[in-house]
Assembly symmetry: C2
Homo-oligomer: 204 residues x 2
DNA sequence: TTGCGTCTATTCACTGGTCGGTATACATCG
DNA sequence: CGATGTATACCGACCAGTGAATAGACGCAA
């Protein structure tokens, strides 16, 4: 299917995404983004009020595609709930082995802009992670897990932890370790919510 | 006990630590560090070859004190192993509620310098996390836990995940959630390593 | 159809300021 | 004297953001 001609604004955001993700926010000049997009800085400033706006657009553009990818990895995995959760981590480990992989753009941006708590980009990143947490929570709830929010947050902590650790050590195997921990926690929560006959505190 | 007069170099590192931790590496100029230390930039460059060296010194200075603090929180907690591990997280949650808290300096630096994989500061950060992992592993091993390395890494993933998540959401309660997950994993590992009489797959 | 005004999108050239790093000289002290 | 440490003043590069002009598309009236 032929994709439509990308608008100028889309070309700018695409160039900004590649550069910001690769080199960080402060490490990329507006001139560099303009050059990568094939236009002048003045044109860029016609479409975006400031560099901060451009940073926000960069993360905004990554929000939905990222969530869809995680959901797809979960849906396409075959097996019980712990296996499907673990599949997210093993797919991520595969991605993390690519040389251009540099962690989670949302987390890296929030780390870089930590002294600007109200920055639009940070709000977008926080909202993104909340959406993922909510999707996990509703998924767990549908599976009959009792404290679905707590479990969702624990999985999220493992996921974001593996972003940070794998980026630091450049060792993607940590992501699989995180996946095993996640599977353990899901299994444990399932056992607590659906007690089997051999346990004494059976409901009803 | 009266502490000795700090050397010029120590004053520089102390000023650099506060500024780098607060505003990030690229967000702090060498001039700003010199001014905070009460001397000129030229003097700073007499003691440090480059800004990169100064960044490395900043993290180097945080290595041992940080590890000692975690060990102290663990040692001073009363209770079984899961409780002592969880204590690290709850103490960290208390620290994270301070308005000047901005996550883990090692992780934030590695996120900011992600496009410079061989940077000295990143190597120091990676070594720091490895030391913490090793301390956890030997502790678990002494407690008779089978796969002590895997468990140590899972705890580390939760810890670093909580640094990232709490920084993004500015909600320290995630750190307590991580502590509960850590306690669950430790309990689960203990149960697998020291099977009780009621379990069938008892060793020997 | 032709000519004119208007709006959108783009470019060139520029500003004031900041950055990491340095050449050089001065001071203090053994 | 000579080594160590400090200061003044400076460099070239880069940075985010802007002023002014222009090219082209469109509508509209003569």
């Amino acid at each position: 299917m032929a994709r439509p001609e990308p608008s100028t604004r889309e070309r700018i955001v695409s160039a900004a995404s590649k550069l910001f993700y690769s080199d960080g926010i402060k490490g990329v000049s507006v001139d560099a983004v303009a050059e990568k997009a094939g236009l002048t800085k003045r044109t860029l400033y016609y479409h975006f009020r400031s560099k901060d706006d451009l940073v926000a657009a960069y993360l905004e553009a990554r929000d939905q595609p990222n969530l869809a990818l995680f959901r797809r990895w979960f849906d396409e995995a075959e097996g019980e709930l712990p296996v499907k959760v673990e599949a997210i981590f093993s797919n991520l480990a595969r991605a993390a082995r690519h040389p251009k992989w540099k962690g989670c753009g949302f987390l890296r941006t929030s780390a870089e802009l930590a002294n600007l708590p109200g920055h639009p980009a940070i709000r977008i990143g926080a909202a993104h992670k909340k959406k993922f947490e909510n999707w996990l929570r509703t998924t767990f709830e549908a599976a009959g897990i009792g404290n679905s929010l707590q479990l969702a947050r624990q999985i999220l902590l493992l996921l974001d932890g593996s972003f940070a650790v794998v980026l630091l050590h450049r060792d993607a195997s940590y992501m699989e370790t995180a996946g095993e921990a996640a599977a353990t926690l899901v299994t444990s929560a399932l056992a607590a919510s659906r007690p089997v006959a051999s346990r004494q505190n059976r409901r009803r």
